[in-house]
Amino acid sequence: MSQFVSFRDCMVTIGAFQVYATSVSLDMQTSLTKDVRLEGFDGDLVAATVNRPTLTPTDGVKGTLSVDFVVSKQHFLYDEIENENNIASIFELNKQTSTALQQFGRVGNYRFFNAGLKSFSFSMRPFDLVRASAEYEIFGSIIQVSKELDVIDNLNPAEGLKSFGDVVVDGINLQDQSRFNIQLLSAQYSVRASRKYNFSIRANEHPVANYVPGAIMPYRVSLADLTIETQITSNKIIPAINETGKMQHGFGGEDFSEVEVTLQLFEAKDEAGDGQSNLLAKFGCVGQVTQQSLSAQGGSYLNGNFSVKQVIK
């Protein structure tokens, strides 16, 4: 039997839920820094002496978990009554976003503890599954455990071909052919959270740190920043907007100061056989256009690219 864990046995979980990862990487590092200081005085040399250089920790063990995955209903529960995502499984991305760290997770036969979501993004384009990426900050050490296998009977990922993207300004759908006539080639949705971690000296000096993984832990975590950004690649950019995000009057006068992008993720396969795939999740971004660009190359088209940014916290 091989001493290596094959990809098909390398289950990735965050909390109690499996992430359908197409690739994963976990890196950990200590905060050891060189410690050199004046230690005494050598009378023979008539000079100061320094200690023998050592590596000294300045922080706990920290790491980053990066995972690329396909999204499916096991991740997102869409609340049809409230018409919003009820992302109860893994990602807490709404205004009530929790700062609590996930207690545990695993990559193959290694278990990690205390993971905080740093960024989450997905992209949708025709003829591809909706591909997502997430990055977690991890605190404390990781341990080796036995590998765990899971059997899933139905993986039906979200697909770009079935999914929809809409851009609305001032109640007007910009895809209306008689108005702005924007055509979305692809969309990328990303959420980035920034946490501040406070460490308590007393708690982390406790000798339990020598016995329990993750003992050097933040005493308090607070969410400092939460931003949603949606990047659209299309046939257009937003012309003639002024500094407030409104289009100048001579160009139609649309109010682009609040652009609403809605991305609806649908399952690839129509399991019910009713001619319509199930809606998995709806992601919205209501904000302002912060950046746009144009690009063209031989044998292709002039593509517009613009970003709508929403600040939540």
Partner: protein, 433 residues
């Protein structure tokens, strides 16, 4: 029981294509496997567009209507077998047109089409019905229909009498709701087509070697010096091959919520563009008698290009042997010499092979579209500037005149230029009219 293919017919743009020796229709799907950590292989998922190809090989039996299909025309067609089965395709584009002609043979034509719409057994080869078009008696149209199993099962209707175009603002009733149309089977449709132009009544004109004229018109100075035409009668042409091919690029976009009621099977390319230039090649096999080959180093000096051999206009005319009228004409302007070679085996004639390549660019490339004056009909182009009779009065009103944009893909779609925001502050100068 299997059917041999003796009685199949091939249809393009609702017309029977004559002289077919071979027909191939196919499509390819694109999927890629999904591997998940902890699970391994899950399934294959769609990874690219599904597009089809149609290849036709046929003998030239006179004037060829497929040659007149424009580069941007949408083509619908297909094959109907004697069993009543058919394979149709929609939204095709003529990709290649090739002619091969050799002494002692009937000239052969081969075409290929790229299919961006649908291709399959339930797809009708006949054009879709239009609510605004007039129809003659016995005209055949199709209506899209999907069977309960999710596959296409288009319906074909025959006009029972003349159906005039509706007056402005009115639409004709759909065939299924109208007594002017009759639902027909594919086999009946095939017979209606055959009856409309019976084989014995079809007028085939097969060009002979004597009725094919090839002329090398020389360089931009139109001087035949140093061309094969300079030695008329001395260098009999044994055969030639002509090929004109397009390079197409398709663009696919995300669907809108407004499309949520439409089946995913209706999803098609948002746009298809020709990647210019369009390349055309001619190669000739000549029984060499009196001709001086270029030397290959001469190619290095652009000054030699206009001296006839390297860059010249070439025209091939295929004429009716009976009355000398031109049936088909193939030409390249400013064709560039690709290669020259001689073959001189013992006890056989020496032959010369010469090949040329020509390129076509969009007539007004790189302009995106054209604007037509709604009163005078004059065409103006986007990258030039509007010539206006007055100056901006400065009161904020639109003062630039009334122009409309004409889309290349769909000339029925018009947008007022005054609705195009990017033109409201355009600089005003003289522009091409």
């Amino acid at each position: 029981m299997s059917f041999s293919g003796h009685e199949q017919v091939f249809i393009v743009q609702n017309q029977l294509v004559s002289g077919i020796s071979d027909c191939n229709m196919s499509y390819n799907t694109q999927t890629e496997p999904l591997y998940i950590a902890g699970l391994g292989y899950v399934d294959n998922f769609i990874s690219g567009p599904t597009e089809g190809q149609v290849e036709l090989s046929r003998y030239m039996l006179g004037e060829d209507f497929i040659k007149s299909i424009d580069d941007e025309d949408r083509v619908q067609g297909g094959i109907i077998f004697d069993s009543g089965r058919s394979v149709g395709f929609t939204r095709g584009r003529l990709l290649n047109y090739r002619v091969s002609c050799n002494v002692g043979q009937i000239p052969e034509i081969s075409n290929s089409f790229k299919v961006y719409g649908n291709l399959g057994g339930g797809v009708s080869p006949f054009s879709l019905w239009s609510s605004s078009s007039p129809y003659a008696a016995d005209d055949l149209v199709s209506r899209k229909h999907t069977a309960t199993d999710g596959f296409a099962e288009d319906k074909v209707y025959k006009a029972k009498n003349i159906i005039p175009a509706p007056s402005a603002g009115v639409s004709n009733d759909a065939p299924e709701d109208s007594s002017d149309w009759e639902l027909v089977t594919m086999l009946e449709a095939k017979e209606i087509l055959a009856e409309s132009k019976k084989i014995k009544e079809r007028n085939y004109i097969i060009p002979t070697q004597g009725s094919i004229d090839i002329s090398f018109k020389g360089s931009i100075y139109k001087d035949t010096t140093n061309t094969l035409s300079e030695f008329a009668g001395s260098n009999p042409i044994l055969g030639f091959n002509y090929s004109r091919g397009l390079d197409l690029d398709s663009l696919y976009a995300l669907r809108e919520e407004a499309d949520s009621g439409t089946p995913i099977t209706d999803y098609e390319a948002l746009d298809i563009q020709i990647i210019y230039p369009i390349k055309t090649t001619f190669d000739f096999t000549v029984s060499m008698d009196n001709y001086k080959l270029s030397d290959m180093r001469a190619f290095l000096d652009y000054a030699n290009w206009v001296n006839g051999r390297i860059e010249q206009d070439i025209v091939v005319q295929m004429k009716n042997p009976q009355d000398d009228s031109v049936l088909m004409e193939y030409s390249i302007s400013k064709a560039k010499l690709l290669s020259e070679g001689i073959s001189s085996p013992s006890q056989q004639e020496s032959t010369l092979t010469v090949s040329f390549e020509g390129v076509e660019t969009e007539e007004f490339s790189p302009f995106f579209g054209e604007y037509r004056h709604t009163v005078t009909g004059a065409i103006i182009y986007r990258s030039n500037w509007l010539l206006l009779s007055t100056v901006d009065p400065g009161n904020g009103e639109d003062w630039r005149g009334n122009y409309t944009e004409v889309y290349k893909e769909d000339p029925s779609r018009y947008i007022e230029l005054s609705d195009l925001a990017e033109y409201k502050h355009s600089q005003v100068e003289v522009r091409k009219q």
